[in-house]
Point group: C2
Chain length 195, copies 2
Amino acid sequence: MNEAVVLTPERILEVTEDVLRRYGLAKATVVDVARALDVSHGSVYRHFPSKASLREAVAKRWLDRIDAPLLAIANEQGSAHDRLDRWLRTLFAAKRSRVLDDPEMFETYLTLAREACAAVKCHKDTMIDQIAAILTDGVKRGEFAVGDVKATARAIFDATVRFHHPAHADEWKDADLSARVDATLALLLRGLRTA
Amino acid sequence: MNEAVVLTPERILEVTEDVLRRYGLAKATVVDVARALDVSHGSVYRHFPSKASLREAVAKRWLDRIDAPLLAIANEQGSAHDRLDRWLRTLFAAKRSRVLDDPEMFETYLTLAREACAAVKCHKDTMIDQIAAILTDGVKRGEFAVGDVKATARAIFDATVRFHHPAHADEWKDADLSARVDATLALLLRGLRTA
């Protein structure tokens, strides 16, 4: 047992991801994680008091990795039109690369994220809040005319489901994907313009 | 055997639907259809030379039933804005009622429609052509400003996937569905307006 090395939550989560990748979600246990870290499972439980809390933290870490670059775009200054366009394309690309590069891990993370939805604020809501922030900014800047910001943010999220919802992952390999993204975003952004 | 009654293709298709409902897609055979019609299976084969052609005809009949009211709206005169709005809502309602009222038969029809996709023109293409026709009309009437009609028609189809693609059927039971439909359609229709 190697208890000398400082066991941080971050280190536990990193190793948990490796363990999930190796054993799969159904088989991976806290004992496997402890063994891979060369510590007692009690040491893991000191940071994550239950298997559920560990799973939730893994989900949160995964969602944060998707979320961080999006939040950065939402918080930028400058044209709201360009930011919304870039924000949506960044979301599509993040989902696309994760699903297509490593479909098994994507499935694992997705299951964990769904479980965590009650505890952590649903990722979807965070996404819609970020879109709403860009819209509010666009209205202030005189770029957008939006009646109900929250409803419109949700409409933008709903109207781009084909490009970010994993149920459509099979369609993300199509040669015409980028042309379809362009056409949809152009239409949505036109719908936001001040008349 | 009751060969005296005139055996029309329509009658065969009606009975085939009953047989599919009773036995399921995997188990239903042409012999079952013939037995339900009280005719020899040769009589069925006279109209549909193979099981595949019978399945294809069932799919086509199902798609035509979805398609007919939509085509009627596409061919109407009057405001293109209102027609597009109504066309989309009619599509959403047709899908929604079929999936929620009879999920098993929906699954059966969906499988048949996918098989038939090579033979019959894909239903999706027909849908997009109808949207394109309304858009063209809207441009002529001075209601819509649309650069590439075909690409924009596809964008409208893509942007409404959440409301007509069966992968999202679980979300069609949500209490806020109609508010979400309203917000998305309002945004899309605004994007089509002449400036």
